[in-house]
């Protein structure tokens, strides 16, 4: 078995039923986290969202502004109504174009652009959800040599999203929430060494 690559970015995508899981994950993250974390959650448009505040229980989670630099130890939440893309200089580009998979932010777009920039150094995690956003993005992460993980559909409140990703990607790993936490804590130590 080859050693896992050192990750340079963690992306987490989720939709219906993923809030509670996300909160659990965040609460078990080492603080500060050794690499930048980007969270892409589907939400309603034109409703004032306080998701960043809701999630900022143990660590500060912020909606980035356009052109912000991705930094280790920071957790970024894709802003409501914008797609979040990553540029080659590891800055964030926001995009207000058409919805993708009925969503903006779309998980596929962030995953795909991270794969193009960070290649094998991307870890993508897809949680519960009721549509198939994220499946194509995870394919791109895996094709670039990165790692794709989904929440085990059996443990997800809505299994469509993780199941679509499994169907599209033989290389994806399905894990329970506990296993994901374990995995993340391991990479966090590896990245420090």
């Amino acid at each position: 078995m080859t050693l896992p690559p050192k990750y340079r970015i963690l992306l987490i995508g989720g939709s219906a039923g993923s809030m509670a899981v996300l909160v659990t994950l965040l609460n078990h993250f080492p603080s500060p986290f050794p690499i930048p974390v980007v969270i892409i959650m589907h939400r309603l448009k034109n409703v004032v969202s306080e998701l960043d505040k809701l999630l900022s229980v143990q660590q500060v989670i912020r909606e980035p502004e356009d052109k912000e630099q991705l930094l280790p130890g920071k957790i970024y939440l894709a802003p409501q109504n914008y797609h979040l893309l990553i540029e080659e200089d590891a800055t964030i580009s926001l995009d207000y174009s058409e919805l993708v998979n009925f969503s903006r932010p779309a998980i596929d777009l962030s995953f795909t652009s991270a794969a193009a920039v960070f290649g094998a150094h991307v870890l993508g995690i897809l949680l519960s959800g009721a549509n198939n956003d994220g499946a194509a993005g995870l394919s791109r992460i895996i094709a670039a040599g990165g790692t794709g993980i989904v929440q085990d559909p059996a443990t997800a409140e809505f299994d469509v999203m993780p199941q679509a990703a499994i169907d599209a990607n033989p290389g994806v790993q399905a894990m329970s929430v506990e296993e994901i936490i374990h995995f993340i804590n391991n990479i966090s130590t590896e990245n420090k060494s």
Partner: protein
């Protein structure tokens, strides 16, 4: 289907477009523009970069279709209601002190935000001493904007936005509804001028008390943002207002020291002197 574009192919495409058609995308944000190219190729069933280059070089009308497709023209009426509320409460009362008010909507796309502004001005009783210059680089957008035609299914969202922005009238009074679209009341257009202007290549053309340029910057890299903020600075009167999109920042811009925030959360700034 093409899944990615190499940097050298990307540079070639941008060069072809610039030399052949005069549109300069050199300093656009790369990630987003690459995606727009790929999306256009999927739409036209083009299977490789070679074919795309070939058609760009040989078919003029092909580019017209491409520019419409690769530029982002998504907009809404009263997009971000909190911003419009801030305009009503903090900016319009100041503008009211000028005998003639000039406003520039830069990158207005199909005009939904221009008409939102017109409604605000009408309700503040300022419309008759106001002139709105609505510009876009894309002629097709301007044509659509001038028609004042909006899809009917969006009107529910827009009505909600209007009320959230502090609108006190019956929103349906501002348009006439047809089977699948509405037409904005032509009276709202009486002081709006639509014309083509490209922020990348064109210059200062007038002096304004307020410039709105919302969700345009995000498609530019820092170099181009710098140029455009300079252009805006030079186009503003002393103490004139600049409004950007909610997630757009002056932080990475040298010109930022010449502006002060009026409403930081809603990205309304003012020229200092």
């Amino acid at each position: 289907m093409v899944e990615g574009i190499s940097n050298s192919d990307f540079t070639d495409l941008v060069k072809i477009i610039q030399q052949r058609y005069g549109y300069d995308f050199t300093n656009y944000a790369v990630a987003s523009l690459k995606r727009r190219f790929i999306r256009f190729m999927a739409y036209k069933h083009i299977n490789g970069i070679f074919e795309l280059k070939h058609r760009l070089l040989n078919e003029t009308h092909f580019f017209q279709e491409m520019v419409q497709y690769i530029t982002v023209n998504v907009t809404e009426m009263f997009r971000d209601p909190s911003f419009y509320k801030a305009l009503r409460e903090q900016v319009l009362p100041r503008l009211a002190s000028y005998p003639n008010i000039k406003i520039w909507h830069a990158g207005c796309a199909s005009g939904e935000e221009v008409y939102s502004m017109a409604i605000l001005l009408e309700e503040a009783g300022l419309m008759d001493r106001c002139r709105i210059y609505a510009t876009d680089m894309n002629a097709a957008n301007l044509k659509k904007a001038e028609e004042g035609k909006v899809t009917l299914k969006e009107m529910k969202d827009y009505t909600y936005n209007y009320i959230q922005s502090g609108g006190l009238h019956d929103f349906s009074g501002y348009y006439t509804a047809y089977a699948d679209h509405v037409i904005i009341q032509p009276a709202l257009k009486r002081n709006i001028i639509f014309f083509q202007h490209n922020l990348v290549t064109d210059q200062v053309f007038n002096e304004f008390q307020l410039i709105c340029c919302r969700n345009v910057f995000i498609y530019f890299n820092k170099t181009l943002q710098e140029r455009v903020v300079k252009l805006f600075y030079e186009s503003l009167t002393s103490l004139g207002y600049l409004a950007l999109g909610l997630k757009e920042s002056l932080l990475y811009n040298e010109e930022r020291v010449k502006f002060e925030p009026v409403n930081a959360a809603n990205k309304i700034f003012r020229r200092k002197t």
